[in-house]
């Protein structure tokens, strides 16, 4: 390459995705701590409050971001948190309202300043809300033999700083997020960590500001973290998942906002894609998703009905001394339960009537055993009249497993009969 050669330029799509990733991942990481500490709205406030600083910087330098401003923003972040605390304590204003006062007024100042500063330039003042993503990917600089978007010179160090911050303060952040009182008791200065976190949030807001503006930064702070919270219980996984959500939001945000499809603002589309992932997590998360919970509740209900059927058949057999039919719950639950039991090989259909198989009998015996042991336990330890025992035991029998059965037996010294005089089936070894 000769001295006049122009460095290669990355394809536009790649540039968009890279910028998207670099502005959303640091937000997602820090957002995890905000969400865990129930401080999402403080993050919202800080992202608005940095605006006056950005406006002043724009007045002075003509640029919306740069490393010096990022560092200055950290001071603003701390200032916002301090101001909020002051108004809350001093003015007897509830915490959320004092937050609203601080960030709204600072934001209003910032909008007005930026509006005046933007006169005569081609800056659209509304960009404070949604950034100017499309333009930032077009302004490139030569870096390491490639032409990269200029904003990356701010965003990459900010991501590095964020990772460094999280790495260095890993323990402190973890303890302070889950148990601030314990953190203080352990001598970790939870307050310092708190203010440092706020400073970092301000820094990533300012770094991403030119690309996504104030309000969509909030989306990147909160939505990936909230999504991750639904998917895992461990902090490390949460950070990874949140970053993953952010990356997916960047990729699909680009794809969906490209000219061919919606021709829309990538920053807004990124937020919407993150929101879509959130909705999916709300519904389908394996443990905490709404549908998963409904499914588990339904499975439990079905198991209970099935066990009731088995127990009823057993009692009928016991009374007659021979396999006999029993009243079975009607309706679709009863039918479904019978079908499941047949499939599990625990009942058979003989001449139109339900009979226990050997396996079914064993399971029913265990159930009845649980029931009667529990009745005995209640009768011994709680002063209940005899006719109150059955209902309680009916509910408990489904949750008494073999472990608990052994404990009950030991506690009651191997009773042979329940309080009603019925024999307690022996355990099957």
């Amino acid at each position: 390459m000769g001295p006049d050669a122009i460095p290669a330029e990355l394809p536009l799509a790649l540039r968009r995705i890279i910028v998207g990733v670099f502005c959303s991942v640091p937000c997602a990481l820090l957002g995890c701590y905000l969400v865990l500490r129930r401080m999402s709205l403080l993050g919202d406030a800080i992202s608005h409050a940095v605006l006056p600083g950005i406006a002043v910087a724009f007045l002075l330098t003509g640029r919306l971001t740069g490393m010096p401003i990022v560092l200055g923003a950290m001071a603003v972040g701390v200032l916002t948190a301090v101001l909020t605390q002051t108004i809350y304590r001093f003015g007897n204003v509830p915490e959320d309202a004092s937050l609203g006062v601080v960030f709204a007024s600072l934001f209003a100042v910032g909008v007005i300043l930026l509006n005046r500063a933007a006169r005569g330039t081609d800056l659209d003042p509304d960009c404070v809300l949604y950034g100017r993503f499309e333009l930032t990917v077009l302004e490139t600089e030569p870096v390491l033999g490639l032409r990269l978007p200029a904003v990356l010179t701010t965003m990459v160090p900010t991501l590095a700083l964020t990772l460094f911050f999280i790495g260095v303060f890993w323990k402190e952040l973890k303890v302070a997020s889950f148990d601030p009182a314990l953190a203080s008791a352990m001598g970790l200065n939870a307050t310092i960590v708190h203010y440092l976190l706020m400073g970092m949030v301000a820094a990533v807001t300012v770094a991403s500001f030119e690309a996504v503006g104030s309000i969509l930064v909030v989306a990147m702070l909160i939505v990936p973290a909230a999504t991750a919270q639904l998917l895992t219980d461990r902090l490390g996984s949460m950070l990874l998942l949140a970053s993953g959500v952010a990356v997916v939001a960047a990729v699909f945000g680009h794809l969906l906002s490209a000219e061919a499809l919606f021709d829309s603002q990538m920053s807004a589309m990124m937020a919407v894609v993150a929101g879509a992932q959130f909705v999916l997590a709300v519904l389908f998360a394996p443990r905490y998703g709404v549908l998963s919970k409904i499914l588990r509740t339904a499975q439990l209900a079905l198991r209970i009905v099935a066990e009731d059927v088995l127990a009823a058949l057993y009692r009928a057999e016991e009374a007659r001394g021979a396999p006999a039919a029993a009243a079975v719950p009607a309706g679709w639950r009863g039918r479904l339960a019978r079908w499941v039991l047949r499939r599990q090989g625990q009942v058979t259909n003989e001449a139109g009537e339900l009979r226990l198989t050997a396996a079914g009998r064993r399971r029913a015996e265990s159930l009845v055993r649980s029931h009667r042991l529990w009745e005995a336990y209640l009768a011994e330890n709680i002063d209940l009249p005899l006719d109150h025992l059955h209902d309680a035991a009916e509910r408990m029998e489904h949750y008494v497993g073999s472990e608990l059965q052994k404990e009950l037996e030991a506690e009651l010294q191997r009773p042979g009969l329940d309080p009603h005089g019925k024999p307690i089936p022996p355990s099957q070894g």
């Binding site: 006062v101 007005i112 809300l129 969509l216 909160i222 639904l230």
Partner: protein
């Protein structure tokens, strides 16, 4: 006379501006009033979420109707805004997501959806000019037509009337919903009514203040009023007045700068009102508190000085000998300048005099006062030594004397103890000196 006034106003401002000013003032009053209850019920940030969620509602309403008809746009904003707050409630109830994160998610995602819809409307050649949706982001009162302003004004007036009508019920529900429900009030329905009023106020504030900042207009007047009074009635009235002035001055100022959005200007005016209240409100304001603090500190210093002087003079009692200032400094670690200041203040109060050699002599008034102070101090001292666990519960440790805090028999017992140990000072002929009250 009113005609002359109106005529003059018309001539100065023009009909349109006057109408806009009237509308935004009413809006401000309504927002201030309703906002007080919003803050009391911790609904301020839900109002913010509702406002952000309203943006897609505005866009959808426009797409449905095809033209910028404010009542339709606001109806769409209202419905989708309520959808947003419903989502927040459901997220809280059905998932492990906490309230703050739920608000944040709904706020930002709905807003982003709104931005996308808005851009689609702008880009579509058929609809672009007629939307005027940009005005709703940060507010633009100037784009409001007379009919729009009338709508806002009437709605604001309606909200005000409803609040006045249900004032007692709202007050009860705001402070103690469980008690209200237990007393048979339909607390849930009242709460819903209040929430509806908040939503309506947010929505009618959108044209003037915009999606991003309307929540602040709900909070600022009430927060400012809080500094002037503790009682709900005056606070509401004051909030309405502050809100009225904020709306009036804010939209007037922003009319002077054509290309500035009105929302930030109105909020700035509200912030100024708030800051003025924070600093200058009597009793609760920062300045008043600092002054009161300084007064109290001076008083305590004077008491301390008199006590030290008395302790130094006590061995030669009742002869009041002149005392070297340095001896005072042995007992109380003040700087020389500080001591001079305290001495000068006490001299100005007539409690002591300086003889030519610079020594300090207690006057008769000073003696009496010192006696009071010392007695009070020793009673406190004994009380806190004897009953340290009570100290935490005793409210006013700053009080000079225990008399106002403790029952008579306890004080008599303490005094007897002090007398027995020779620590209860007396002056010959001092029976006329009353105990410090």
């Amino acid at each position: 006379m009113t005609d002359d006034l109106l005529g003059a106003l018309y001539a100065r401002f023009g009909y349109n501006t006057l109408v806009v000013l009237a509308g935004t003032s009413l809006l401000g009053a309504c927002a201030g009033l309703v906002g007080c209850f919003a803050v009391l019920r911790r609904r301020a940030l839900t109002g913010d979420a509702l406002a952000h969620a309203a943006l897609p509602g505005l866009c959808l309403a426009f797409l449905v109707v095809g033209e910028r008809s404010l009542p339709v746009l606001l109806a769409g904003a209202f419905l989708v805004g309520l959808l947003g707050t419903t989502c927040i409630t459901l997220l809280r109830r059905w998932t492990r997501i906490k309230e703050d994160a739920a608000i944040g998610v709904v706020l930002s995602v709905f807003f982003a959806l709104g931005l996308i819809l808005r851009l689609a409307i702008q880009r579509s050649p058929a609809t672009s000019d007629r939307a005027g949706l940009d005005a709703f982001l940060l507010g633009q009162a100037a784009t409001m037509k007379a009919a729009d302003v009338q709508l806002v004004g009437v709605a604001a007036l309606g909200c005000l009337l409803v609040v006045l009508l249900f004032y007692k019920e709202f007050r009860l529900v705001a402070f103690d919903p469980e008690f209200a429900a237990a007393q048979g009030w339909p607390a849930v329905r009242l709460d819903l009514l209040l929430m509806g009023l908040i939503a309506l106020t947010v929505v009618i504030g959108l044209p003037a203040v915009g999606v991003v900042l309307i929540a602040a207009l709900l909070i600022l007047p009430g927060a400012a009023a809080r500094f002037w009074t503790d009682r709900l009635g005056p606070m509401l009235a004051l909030a309405a007045v502050f809100g009225f002035c904020t709306g009036l001055v804010g939209s007037y100022l922003s009319s002077l700068f054509a290309r500035l959005p009105t929302g930030p200007v109105i909020i700035l005016v509200g912030t100024v009102v708030f800051l003025v209240s924070v600093l200058f409100a009597p009793r609760r304001g920062a300045v008043a508190r600092a002054l009161a603090q300084r007064c109290f500190r001076r008083e305590v210093e004077e008491r301390t000085l008199l006590r030290v002087l008395f302790d130094l003079a006590e061995p030669e009692w009742p002869h009041a000998a002149p005392i070297l200032p340095e001896r005072i400094l042995e007992r109380k670690a003040w700087s020389g300048r500080h001591l001079d200041r305290v001495l000068a203040a006490a001299a100005a109060d007539g409690y002591l005099a300086r003889d030519p050699a610079g020594h300090v002599v207690l006057t008769e008034r000073g003696l009496e006062r010192a006696l009071q102070v010392v007695r009070g101090h020793r009673l406190w001292e004994l009380y806190l030594t004897e009953y340290p666990e009570q100290a935490g519960a005793t409210a006013d440790l700053g009080n000079e004397s225990v008399e106002s805090v403790l029952p008579e028999d306890v004080i008599a017992a303490l005094r007897a103890r002090l007398s027995d140990t020779g620590r209860w000072p007396g002056l010959p002929g001092a029976q006329h000196i009353r105990e410090a009250r």
